[in-house]
Amino acid sequence: MNIAVCVKQIPDQSVPGKLDPGTHNLVRDGKLILDDSDSYGVEMALQLVDRAGGGEVTLISMAPNGEVSGIRTALAMGADRAVLVSDPSLAGSDALTTAKVLAAAIRRNPFDLVMAATESTDGYTGTVPVQVAEILDIPSVSFAKKVEIENGILKVQRQTESGYDEVECPLPALVTVTAGVVEPRYPSFKGIMAAKSKPVDVLDVAALGTGPLTTSQEIVSVRAAEERASGTVVVDEGDAFRQVVEFLEAIKVI
């Protein structure tokens, strides 16, 4: 069982992000870390390979500045190898370009399954994984909360608004994993030491052999989200319940 997991390395979300005033793209020149929402796919992939009794987990990532620290985190969790596509021409790529790059990188090695997060934490278009599946010409199942493989068939519990659907499809396939459905393991010190010597192939666009990539999407303007109006503070002087009831009546909730 060979699984490719798409992982994004993103700016630390605890530090307020900045937009480039010219391109309107997120500034990514600092240290990048593993997107938390990708850690669930990595965890699931490790569990699936474990259960299958063998195989490899390969990380697939695209980052503008050759950054590997987020990849190292996932390698320390137990992934076997990584392919990083890094090329200055890819800075500010749109979702489709990103999908083409990832698909080309995935294709370089045999795979049974591709995993990705439902969306990245910093860009959240939520469209890259299904585009990757389309380019690879394989079926895709989104919003997985549980993934099993039985006799070469992929069985997924797919989250819906009212619960979940049970979905089956043949392999190879692509699955997007909902954040929070598994507890990603913490790297052990042995895992971190081992990750240092795991192979990371760094490729530029030419090496991918995709031919020229043109970005067709452009961000024309960016507007700050409207500030939320400040709420009403009810101080409990013994009659707060009355004020709350009145408020709820006024907005016709009760």
């Binding site: 979300q13 320390a76 790297p187 052990s188 010190f189 042995k190 101080v235």
Partner: protein, 452 residues
């Protein structure tokens, strides 16, 4: 006594003086549930002049005044005595930050989280951090001289204090709030009030230092066989890393309670006899450096590592202790300081004592290892049974330790103060109290037995 409530109502308006039992009940029981009290009313002033007026009324009517902040104290110090006024600081809310000076001027009722969320907007934070950050107030932190998890690097609350505003028991309002870094013009009221547990006056505002917030942190949760092994790792880590900002220890019984209470599984195999948590903070901190260090250390059984936001998942095992213990019973909480070289021996002695002579008592021992601060928590002990507490405190004294490392004396340890303070020492402290609080109205029964 009804006159006192009347007088307060006349001065403050009906809304600020609360007697409705549905509302007051939350103020009458401490966080652990071990201490319960009664009060005439809960008073919630909105500024320092109101506090001063309240102290005047308490003075003239000889009514006890119990100051309460977030009510997260663990020694019953904010739980009222019958017939007293609970003065809640929760509506004293002002935050004023000077970014260039790195000074914050804060009303006493500002919570640690409120302070930090304001300070983070300008890249700063308060150096003392405690797990009760959601509710604990800066007034309460100063009144107890709270220690917390970063003491080894930045010191405790007292080390952050630059000034104070207080209404003393005698009704005088004293303000030293300029935020001076140096001020040797006489007695230092900040130091005197810090750790006074509401027995000298009401702290209405404080000026404190702030430090940089935008730093990167990495955490290792380390499984070890023995506490002496943990202490060796700590010593070596302190030599290896200049930016170590937390060293905490836990033992199996506590980790098991945390696992039982929550939904998380211990991140590495079986729960070990002891665990050590270390945190490094700085711009150039990498988990790889910690992994390198741990790999070469023979006392390390296993370790899980994480950075930044994910590190909270490792802190969870330490921070959930207090909550988990309280979930499984009403604990006796003995927060003691032991010379670091003797922590291992002390913990072994106490564990053996419990095993041999108190087999029904469940103990959870953890704490701030870097400070020699050991939290001995005892479950299955009657709330009023203090025999075992005394025995352990006596042991602490024989090790040259202190019966209160960071929580204070409160009501819980009044009878044991003489174990770590001499009669002359206690007499002089009483003298200080009498000078500043002549009617002895401020938090009677806390720190000292009823003073005559």
């Amino acid at each position: 006594m009804a006159d006192v409530v009347e007088a307060l109502r006349r001065s403050f308006g009906v809304g600020s003086v609360v007697t409705d039992p549905d509302i007051t009940s939350g103020y009458l029981t401490d966080w652990t549930g071990r201490f319960k009290g009664e009060a005439l009313c809960v008073l919630r002033p909105v500024n320092s002049w109101q506090v001063q007026r309240a102290v005047e009324i308490a003075n003239s009517s000889h009514t006890p005044m119990i100051t309460q902040g977030g009510n997260t104290g663990l020694v019953g110090g904010a739980t009222p005595v019958r017939g007293g006024i609970v003065l809640s600081t929760q509506f004293l809310k002002g935050i004023d930050i000077d970014v260039n000076a790195r000074v914050a001027k804060l009303s006493a009722g500002v919570t640690l989280n409120e302070l930090n969320s304001k300070a983070r907007e300008v890249g700063l934070r308060f150096a003392v951090d405690i797990a009760s950050r959601e509710s604990a107030t800066v007034g309460g932190m100063v009144a107890t001289n709270a220690g917390g998890i970063h003491l080894i690097r930045y010191g405790g609350t007292r080390q952050q204090l630059l000034g104070i505003e207080t209404v003393l028991g005698n009704g005088q309002l004293i303000a030293r709030m300029e935020g001076l870094h140096k001020d040797n013009s006489g007695y230092d009221w900040s130091s005197i009030l810090c750790g006074s547990e509401g027995t000298l006056g009401v702290i209405t505002a404080v000026a404190v230092k702030l430090i940089s917030a935008a730093l990167h942190r990495s955490v290792a949760l380390i499984a070890v066989d023995t506490l002496s092994g943990a202490i060796r790792i700590m010593g070596d880590a302190r030599r290896e890393f200049s930016n170590l900002d937390a060293v905490e220890f836990m033992s199996r019984s506590g980790l098991e309670l945390v696992q039982r209470l929550g939904s998380k599984a211990w991140p590495m195999g079986e729960i070990p006899p002891y665990a050590l948590l270390i945190e490094l903070e700085g711009d150039d901190v990498e988990v790889e450096d910690i992994a390198d260090f741990l790999e070469s250390h023979e006392d390390v059984l296993d370790a899980a590592l994480a950075s930044d936001a994910r590190a909270d998942g490792l802190w969870y095992w330490r921070e959930q202790h207090t909550v988990a213990i309280n979930h499984f019973g009403v604990p006796h909480k003995l927060d003691v300081a032991i010379p670091i070289g003797s922590v291992d021996s002390f913990v072994r002695y106490v564990s053996e004592l419990l095993e041999l002579e108190y087999p029904n008592v469940r103990s959870v021992i953890f704490g701030h290892l870097g400070d020699g601060n050991v939290h001995v928590n005892l479950l299955n002990v009657e709330e009023s049974d203090e025999e075992l507490d005394h025995e352990i405190f006596a042991t602490v004294a024989s090790y040259g330790g202190s019966i209160s490392a960071e929580h204070g004396i409160g009501r819980a340890k009044v009878g044991d103060l003489s174990l770590t303070r001499s009669p002359q020492d206690i007499e002089s402290m009483r003298g200080l109290k009498k000078a500043l609080d002549p009617a002895l109205i401020m938090n009677p029964g806390v720190l000292f037995n009823q003073v005559g």
